[in-house]
């Protein structure tokens, strides 16, 4: 039993077996391809379809449906397009080759999946055909990539599986193994297309311009020439751009896929800050989505380039599929970005006041800057973070010191800690995990040059120090405080940096310099 389909050939309806239909369809497509560059190609095709319809009618006297045998007989009668060349081709090539070679020569190579000889989807096999390399080599490269990128590899494969059409018809199979794509036949391709355009322009001329300007008028020649030059430039630019797209997309894709998985871990995972931001920040799941998110546009660029150079067309459904996949990857990517941002949602503040008890009426302020120079040499330090990993610890370096008038008769150091977290509670707990030390030796107040964060998690911790000085007392600001003091108000209206190395007395109206030479 066979399923039949209805076809309309030269205006007559025929029942035809499904397998016979496939063969007929392929045959007609081959003919169409063969005559596509020929003037009146459509007409020739119609004539042939008419003849086939006639032959069908003859055969349907005794039965109802056209079978595969009929089709095979009819295609033998009508002959293969390659046989037409043999008999009538205007300019037969001097060194004639085998028929298949001849056929191959005529077709430029395109990328297809080879489903006849496949392991999974025929992607490697198709690539091997296209690049003219051994399929084993291609598979080894792929398995190499698989190890390199880990969990993303199946996605990469599936992407190509979806994007590349499989070679179904004979014509496509020939195209898959067709002429090697190189500069020469790209040039040939451009010239061919140029010729077609010229022909079309000539047709147009015949119909319209002839009556207006005369067949060989100067004006027409100019127009002709201009159109030729412009189309030539466009075609050439298009192909160049196509090649550029393929190279650009290919290189970026390779970079992305080698970096996004193995490389990203080197780039991000091993960056000292990452583990302090979010332990699962760059887990495999989000890495896969990230590489899909960046990789899909690259694949699109490559396919676009292939289309420009080689006219490889991708079916609309695949395009939509790829686009949907891209949107999904975007969604998941945003999702994991949200996971991170949620960690910074709420802010909390914690204030600690410490009394500084000293006998002297002058307090010498300085900073222990032993570690400070070391901290500055940390590789990958991001100053904006104001925190940095240092010797297995997370330390903050961005604290600020202000000096104000005390409300009572004591020296007080106010430590104000800010931190963020999922909620107020967690943020508050985080502020308590921040520790800042200072040393008081007689009348020397020596600040540590960093604060420590015991949770090892960076949640935008900041530390603001305020030293309260009772009226009548004096502080000396050592030069080591350069990075610490911030916008200290004073009667002399001096900038922070200029205040260093001087004695400052707290008057009723504010700090005033007692060692400055006006």
């Amino acid at each position: 039993m066979n399923k039949t389909v209805n076809i309309n050939l030269a205006g007559i309806v025929f029942h035809i077996d499904e397998n016979a239909f496939e063969t007929l369809n392929n045959y007609l497509n081959e003919l169409k391809n063969h005559f596509k560059n020929e003037e009146g190609g459509d007409e020739i095709l119609k004539d042939i379809e008419g003849r086939i319809a006639e032959l069908f009618t003859e055969r349907l006297d005794k039965k109802e449906a056209i079978s595969l045998t009929d089709i095979n007989e009819i295609t033998t009668i009508m002959g293969d397009p390659s046989q037409y060349d043999d008999e009538i081709e205007q300019e037969q090539s001097q060194e004639s080759q085998d028929k298949e070679e001849d056929l191959r020569k005529g077709k430029r190579r395109k990328v297809f999946r080879d489903e006849e000889d496949r392991m999974i989807g025929g992607v490697c096999r198709g690539m091997a055909h296209y690049f003219d390399i051994n399929v084993l080599f291609c598979r080894i490269i792929f398995i190499g990539i698989l190890f390199l990128i880990g969990p993303g590899a199946p996605f990469l494969y599936i992407m190509f599986w979806i994007a590349l059409p499989s070679a179904k018809t004979t014509a496509e199979k020939l195209e898959m193994k067709g002429e090697r794509v190189n500069i020469n036949n790209i040039e040939k391709n451009i010239k061919d297309e140029l010729n077609i355009i010229e022909d079309k322009i000539r047709d147009f001329d015949r119909k319209f311009t002839k009556e207006i300007f005369g067949a060989n008028s100067f004006f027409r020649k100019i127009v002709d020439f201009c159109i030729r030059v412009i189309t030539g430039i466009f075609k050439f630019a298009g192909s160049c751009f196509g090649i550029f797209c393929i190279l650009f997309g290919g290189i970026l894709l390779l970079l992305i896929f080698s970096f996004a998985f193995s490389g990203a871990e080197i780039l991000f995972q091993n960056h000292p800050m990452v583990e302090h931001v979010y332990s699962n920040f760059f887990n495999n799941k989000s890495a896969t989505w990230l590489s899909l998110f960046i990789g899909i546009p690259m694949v699109a660029i490559i396919l676009f380039g292939l289309r420009l150079v080689n006219n490889t067309k991708i079916h609309m459904n695949y395009k939509i599929g790829i686009f949907v996949l891209w949107i999904i990857s975007l969604f998941f990517l945003l999702n994991s970005a949200e996971d991170i941002s949620i960690e910074f949602q709420e802010e909390a503040k914690n204030t600690i006041i410490e009394n500084i008890i000293t006998e002297s009426d002058t307090l010498y302020l300085s900073m222990n800057d032993v570690n400070r120079e070391l901290v500055k040499t940390i590789p990958g330090l991001i100053p904006q973070f104001k925190v940095t990993p240092f010797e297995d610890n997370l330390i903050g370096i961005g604290m600020q010191l202000d000096v104000v008038k005390s409300k009572n008769d004591n020296f007080n150091l106010i430590k104000e800690v800010i931190a963020r977290g999922k909620n107020k509670q967690i943020a508050k707990e985080r502020t308590e995990e921040v520790d800042f030390e200072f040393i008081l030796e007689d009348d020397n107040l020596i600040f540590d040059d960093f604060f420590t964060i015991s949770t090892q998690k960076w949640r935008m911790q900041e530390l603001y120090l305020t030293l309260e000085i009772p009226v009548g007392m004096v502080v000396f600001l050592d030069h080591s405080l350069e990075d610490l003091i911030y916008d200290i108000k004073n009667v002399n209206n001096m900038w922070d940096y200029d205040m260093l190395g001087h004695y400052w007395k707290m008057e009723e109206e504010g700090l005033s310099c007692i060692s400055c030479e006006d």
Partner: protein, 112 residues
């Protein structure tokens, strides 16, 4: 140099000449022409004829008219144009010259 090449080049011009000659006796539709050419072993597959006819028609050597057919789709009946007639006459004389030349040059000594 392959024999197929030379053969096809020899056949090429003759095929056009023969098609025009067949149509000299009156209009015909492709199947008639094919039958005659097949009998003469000038063509093997039918598909060859259609591009040729279209080319000759585009060269304004042939014209056609449609005619309804009882067995299948409407047929194109081809006939010579005035230009085609002149063309054929020129080919006739060329062919006679060629045939003479071939006869003379391929004649073996025994024939003389």
């Amino acid at each position: 140099m392959k024999i197929e090449n030379t053969q096809s080049q020899m056949r090429k011009g003759i095929l056009e000449y023969c098609i025009l000659s067949i149509l000299k006796n009156g209009e015909a539709y492709p199947s008639d022409i094919i039958e005659k050419l097949k009998k003469a072993k000038l063509i093997v597959v039918e598909g060859t004829l259609y591009p040729l006819l279209t080319r000759l028609k585009n060269a304004e050597l042939l014209q056609y008219r449609w005619e309804e057919s009882s067995a299948g789709p409407p047929r194109k009946y081809y006939s010579l144009t005035k230009k085609g007639n002149t063309f054929l006459l020129e080919l006739d004389s060329t062919w006679k010259d060629l045939a003479k030349a071939v006869r003379l040059t391929t004649k073996t000594k025994k024939d003389e």
